[in-house]
């Protein structure tokens, strides 16, 4: 099994953090109703510098899982470890990008200040420099003084990504980040994400319902079952890098992965078991 070669030589692989889920389970107890088990038992490992996607049928708890992994929510059972340490709140070198960019950017701050919002304790001069640098990396260097609500959806998501990378995270979690933008913008943002991961070397965990997107972006795809969810299969994606929106998606192997994952999601009981 050939390992994927990164296009940018010399990227510090040690920059990426590891994120491990060990038997993570989550159930809810709504008042007066029966308890709902969103996550059954999920175990996997996100290795340093790796790009892993989580896919699964609607309602299988992908987003809940991501929130458990990030520390926003405490799992009912099991443990989450970030570089070996148990996660109790969002780890300092982890960043998150949400789907609802309109609601996660602070509307009262300019774009630049939004990007700076994640840089605590950094002197404002230094902070502004880093913010501008981040905005440039995501491709919108001239919009620092605008406000989020003045920008299009795709640009707002870029701002959210700038905010996420400004702190030079070692791990990036993304929760269906491109579900709310149009197709062309989505492709552009997918490429941006891959480029950033390559240049900055962080590990990435992407939750998405878009199977094509998962295959396109990742080194590995984890397929989740229905609720209560568990990992059905971990599928290594052996496609050449750098990935290209047109060429990669046209490859036979791409179609093969797509068919395989589709089948698994449509018929989760028939899938072969096995954790990552």
């Amino acid at each position: 099994m050939k390992s994927n070669v990164r296009s940018t030589p010399g990227v510090d692989r040690a920059n990426g953090a590891t994120l491990t889920a060990e038997g993570v389970a989550k159930s809810y107890h709504p008042r007066g109703g029966r308890s709902v088990q969103a996550i059954g038992s999920v175990s996997f490992e996100l290795r340093a510098g790796e790009f892993v996607s989580l896919v699964g049928p609607s309602g299988c708890g992908k987003t809940t899982l991501l929130r458990c992994l990030s520390g926003l929510v405490t799992p009912s059972d099991g443990a989450v470890r970030f570089d070996g340490e148990t996660v109790s709140k969002v780890p300092g070198s982890m960043s998150i990008v949400f789907q609802e960019y309109g609601r996660s950017l602070f509307p009262w701050l300019s774009v630049e200040r939004n990007v700076m919002a994640g840089l605590p304790g950094v002197r404002s001069g230094e902070g502004r420099r880093r913010a501008r640098e981040a905005l440039e990396m995501v491709g919108i260097p001239d919009f620092g003084d605008s406000y989020p609500w003045q920008l299009s959806g795709g640009m707002q998501q870029r701002v959210a990504m700038a905010r996420a990378i400004a702190t030079r995270p070692r791990c990036l979690l993304m929760d269906e980040p491109f579900a709310s933008v149009d197709a062309l913008t989505r492709e552009s943002l997918e490429e941006l994400t891959l480029r950033l991961a390559g240049e900055l070397g962080f590990s990435t965990l992407l939750v998405t319902h878009d199977i094509d997107e998962a295959i396109f972006m990742s080194d590995r795809v984890l397929v989740l079952s229905n609720r209560p969810s568990r990992v059905l299969r971990s599928i290594p994606i052996e496609l050449p890098k750098p990935r290209d929106e047109v060429a990669t998606r046209a490859m036979g192997r791409f179609q093969h992965y797509r068919a395989e994952i589709h089948a698994m999601i449509r018929n989760p009981e028939g899938a072969a078991g096995g954790a990552a």
């Binding site: 996660s104 950017l105 602070f106 009262w108 919002a117 003045q150 299009s152």
Partner: protein, 281 residues
């Protein structure tokens, strides 16, 4: 092949400059229309008066009202009366804010405190504020103190409720954003909740301000020897209707100005809030 960020840049070239010019134009058209409407209303008033639908003896003409207005403001007692009303209004509103804002925050931030006080608050709330006038009168007698306390009692409620609502209604996604940026709970309150609640707080202040004006003038009509309300009732009983109407005009004018002032503050301070924040609680 993929869309570049620069294309999006072109599409949004200079959004701020063009929208500001459009906003000014919109505002100007609005003002003109409003003024026109006002003129029409005054014209209607005059017409009804000439036709004696509004009894000519008891209702002054526009000209008489304007004369009384001018006489009262320059050298008459309207100016000092207005001053008194404004003083009572400001003092009452200020006190109401001083008490109401922290209380509203506390109730918004602490679920426990909110639940514990729910009953009492829901009981007192539906009582219309002006109903407290006789009570205040009985206990505090005539004068400024009674006026200010009355305003305090009436104006504190919208401030408390809207502040509480504003804090409780902060978009949880914003809070989550703060958590993802590693903010402590206190930082989230300070940098997110308080700011996000501002539009609702301003709405509360606007309601409180209107109530405060109504209460001051009401109290003055009944039991305070100074102020616009007093001028209205005195002039009405002595038959100098033009003076009474002049004072009424000033009262209404104050109301309009206050409303516009707070609306402007709102637009300046929180340009990012949508109409959703306008809901009055």
């Amino acid at each position: 092949m993929s869309t570049d960020a620069s294309t999006e840049q072109e599409a949004l070239a200079n959004p701020r400059r063009t929208s500001r010019r459009a906003a000014v134009r919109r505002y100007a058209t609005s003002a003109v229309k409003g003024l026109a409407g006002l003129v029409v209303m005054v014209g209607l008033w005059e017409l009804l008066r000439r036709l004696d639908v509004l009894p000519r003896s008891a209702v002054p003409s526009t000209a008489a009202t304007l004369t009384a207005l001018r006489a009262g403001l320059f050298g008459g007692d309207l100016l000092s009366a207005t001053g008194h009303t404004l003083l009572a209004w400001a003092a009452g509103l200020g006190l109401a804010s001083l008490i109401g804002l922290p209380l509203g925050f506390a109730l918004g931030l602490s679920r426990w405190a909110d639940a514990a006080t729910r009953e009492v608050v829901d009981f007192l709330r539906p009582i219309p504020s002006v109903a407290f006038v006789p009570v205040a009168l009985v206990f505090l007698g005539f004068g400024l103190k009674m006026e200010v306390v009355l305003v305090l009692i009436g104006a504190v409620w919208p401030i408390v409720f809207n502040t509480r609502y504003g804090v409780q209604d902060v978009d949880p996604k914003l809070v989550e954003s703060g958590q993802s940026l590693h903010y402590s709970d206190w930082t989230i309150v300070r940098r997110i909740k308080l700011v996000a609640a501002t539009p609702a707080i301003l709405t509360g202040l606007r309601t409180a301000s209107a109530i405060a004006l109504i209460l001051t003038v009401s109290a003055e009509t009944l039991a305070v020897p100074e102020g616009l309300g007093n001028v209205i009732s005195q002039s009405a009983t002595t038959g100098s209707t033009a003076d009474a109407y002049a004072a009424i005009v000033i009262t209404g004018f104050l109301g309009v100005v206050m409303n516009m002032a707070i609306a402007t503050v709102r637009t300046r301070l929180v340009p990012w809030s949508t109409r959703a924040g306008d809901r009055e609680v």
